[in-house]
């Protein structure tokens, strides 16, 4: 009997609603998010999402995030035909105003830094050796160095760093003539001989604490 009553109630409320809602089409307008769309791809609290290949933003330095958003907006990054993930990001940034970028950087700054889980298992010892040349800019603990324009690496998603190192080595990132810091990184990435060297160095970075 209880079940029957529920069904009846459902139908009565349905009849009331149909006139008011179905004819309208939409239940409501999209939430006013401004340009705060980041978490759809970059995951809850910007923790990164491997399925979208969108890296963690939580804990990213404000100055680095700002520069990358500006580079994407200007087409300095994300315009090389082989930079698949960059191409996906570029249209998201293309329409951002200076104010939107400042707002996003602010917002992202609210998210707590939680180191990413390791997903690769390379040779840490060999990675440590290779990392010596990285440390000059990124710091001995991969903590980043704003004065040199080098972001922190420790705690970042390893799969993202691997993609970026591959892209730098192949010239998919950093070959735009206005990408000053990217071109430095492009040169430095050549010191990593092959895919295994990339995995090794990233495996070593996984052992570092920011």
């Amino acid at each position: 009997m209880k079940k029957l009553m529920t069904v009846t109630t459902l139908f009565i409320s349905a009849l009331c609603n149909i006139a008011s809602q179905a004819a309208e089409g939409d239940v409501g307008v999209a939430a006013d998010m401004g340009d705060r769309y980041c978490t759809t791809c970059h995951g809850v609290d910007g923790l990164g999402n491997i399925a979208i290949e969108a890296p963690r933003l939580a804990g990213m330095e404000a100055w680095y995030l700002k520069r990358q958003l500006e580079n994407f907006r200007a087409g300095i990054r994300g315009t090389h035909g082989e930079d698949i993930q960059g191409i996906a990001m570029r249209p998201m940034a293309a329409k951002l105003s200076d104010e939107s970028i400042a707002d996003i950087v602010d917002w992202v700054g609210d998210w707590d830094f939680v180191p990413a889980e390791a997903t690769v298992d390379g040779n840490v010892n060999q990675g440590r050796t290779a990392f010596q040349s990285c440390a000059a800019c990124h710091g001995a603990n991969a903590e980043g160095n704003e004065a040199l324009g080098a972001p922190a690496l420790a705690g970042q998603n390893d799969w993202y760093m691997i993609t970026q190192l591959r892209n730098f080595r192949a010239g998919f990132r950093g070959s735009h003539q206005e990408d000053t810091y990217g071109s430095q990184m492009l040169t430095m990435s050549k010191t990593l001989r092959d895919e295994q060297a990339i995995i090794n160095v990233v495996s070593y970075i996984n052992t570092l604490q920011k």
């Binding site: 209880k2 529920t6 999209a30 809850v44």
Partner: protein, 524 residues
């Protein structure tokens, strides 16, 4: 006119694939009589208010909520977006298209005929579960014309880029293929495979299928329409397009197979009157305030005796505690939501790829296609836009909404600006209809890869064209088992035939049957 491909060449080609007799022998399913496709009967044990959290409001979620609510469960649906339905999305006057970085608001005339199904758009007659709910929820249906023989086929490589009628293409292709097969029946190996009577039947069918003459040759047909006359005067045949010319386009596969209902795209399909979201709102209106909109899920924790779901609403994090959870959040978004799923389950969840697809549409100032004898159906274009659909409803009305692009599997639009997308489909469309550009008003585009809270179209499981690997089958089974008997993954991502509402609904039925069994076996 060029020479047709010789029959010998064609038969050699057949031989390369194992030979025709091999095919004949393989097809031994005589006597197979398929049963009618019927929707599952859902008969859940009545519940006294067990709490259920349903994540997302795609059709699998709405089905689940509807069935559980009828049985007395206490359901709450959390929807990240401002609207229900996920990929069952209809655009009409005033609709917001919430694409990241490309917000659009549809400004078409406010007219019930002027709508566009941006996701699911067609219901095959064998999709019994969808039809069952349409009937139960009184969603009015009408016929959708999926194939029109007067629509066009256009390829820059064929006929100097000028479009040809679907019928000119398909009738000629049928004619040539029939002629070649009829001739091959003379071969000794085929004679030994068929009895005389079977051969006669087959030849008769081929003569009819290809409209062959007494010599079993294809010399044109009036099926493609008349060259002249046909009503007051005797009709004359139109010129035959040579086989070699037909083969200049790779669209043959698309043009020739739109009538295969088994895969969901038969000649007679259906659509709800007024838009596909009529089904969504039929559910949603009945569920009322059980649905919380603009409430993105931020954490899913399966506990010993239930599930705790955190979500954000008006900037505040709230926690919903439930006995069970049914989750249709796309797997690629779920990967970015903290959870405590077992490693094996997460691995499978992360494995599913987000499918690519995009569509575009515009409001046409006039129903220009009707002046070209087209009343519904699909024009095939060998360009990224791929398809043009003409609305089968409101015939001879003032305006209509034309689907200007439908690329299933492509993501070109993802990288293009709105202006470039529009220019792209106009450029290709005017090769078919010279006045296309002039007719197009207020275009909209749907790039599923960039739609907020979706970021993709139909999920893709198999990485290889050959089909599902054992590993993939295994992961699929992993995801079909509820985590701790509490968390069910539903939606077309949890089926082996994605992109169809029927699959999504059946995934819900599958999960509901499992839940019901568990509930029934609980100690009283």
């Amino acid at each position: 006119m060029t020479n047709p491909v010789s029959r010998r060449e064609f038969l050699n080609l057949l031989g390369a694939y194992g030979g025709t007799s091999a095919v004949l022998q393989a097809g031994t399913a005589l006597g197979f009589m398929p049963g009618n496709s019927q929707a599952a009967e859902i008969s859940l044990q009545a519940s006294t208010g067990k709490k259920v959290a349903i994540l997302g409001t795609g059709i699998s979620a709405l089905t689940t909520a509807w069935e559980l609510t009828k049985a007395g469960y206490d359901c709450t649906l959390l929807e990240a977006s401002h609207r229900p339905g996920g990929r069952m999305f209809t655009v009409r006057a005033g609709t917001v298209i919430d694409e990241i970085g490309n917000y659009q608001r549809c400004e078409w005339d406010d007219d019930p005929h002027l709508y566009f199904n941006a996701g699911a758009a067609r219901i095959p007659s064998i999709h019994s579960s969808v039809l069952k709910y349409c009937k139960e929820l009184e969603v009015e249906l009408q016929v959708f014309v999926n194939e029109s023989k007067t629509a066009w086929v256009q390829d820059d490589a064929m006929n100097g880029g000028k479009p040809v009628r679907n019928t000119d293409y398909s009738s000629s292709m049928q004619g040539f293929v029939s002629e070649m097969l009829a001739k091959s029946l003379g071969k000794e190996e085929l004679d030994s495979s068929l009895t005389e009577s079977e051969s006669e039947t087959l030849l008769g069918m081929l003569r009819s299928f290809g409209d062959l003459n007494e010599d079993m040759l294809y010399k044109g047909t009036v099926r493609a329409g008349y060259g002249s006359g046909g009503f007051l005067d005797h009709g004359t045949k139109r010129d035959v397009i040579a086989l070699r010319d037909l083969l200049k386009t790779r669209l043959a596969g698309n043009v020739m197979v739109t009538t295969q209902e088994g895969t969901g795209s038969g000649p007679l399909l259906m659509q709800p009157v007024g838009g596909m979201d009529r089904i969504i709102y039929a559910f949603a209106n009945r569920l009322g305030d059980r649905i919380k909109f603009r409430s993105p899920v931020t954490e899913v924790m399966v506990t010993d005796d239930g599930v705790e779901v955190a979500y954000e609403r008006n900037g505040v994090t709230e926690v919903l505690k439930a006995d069970y959870c049914f989750n249709c959040i796309p797997s690629h978004l779920m990967s970015g939501i903290p959870n405590n799923f077992p490693a094996e389950y997460s691995e499978a969840l992360n494995y599913i790829r987000r499918g690519k697809a995009y569509k575009a549409a515009f409001q046409a100032k006039e129903r220009f296609w009707e002046k070209e004898n087209i009343y519904g159906g699909i024009t095939w274009v060998n360009a990224p836009t791929q398809q043009i659909w003409y609305p089968p409803h409101n015939i001879h009305g003032k305006k209509g909404v034309v689907l200007a692009a439908y690329n299933f599997g492509g993501a070109n639009y993802t990288e293009m600006s709105q202006e470039d997308r529009i220019e792209d489909f106009l450029k290709h469309g005017e090769k078919v209809h010279p006045n296309y550009r002039e007719m197009a008003e207020k275009p909209i585009t749907i790039a599923w890869h960039r739609m907020n809270h979706m970021l993709g179209c139909a999920p893709r499981w198999a990485r290889n064209r050959g089909g599902w690997s054992d590993k993939e089958e295994q992961m699929y089974e992993t995801l079909r088992q509820p985590v701790n008997g509490r968390h069910y993954l539903i939606g077309d991502q949890s089926t082996q035939h994605s992109a169809w509402m029927e699959s999504a609904i059946q995934s819900a039925h599958y999960a509901l049957a499992d839940l019901d069994q568990r509930v029934r076996s609980e100690p009283a």
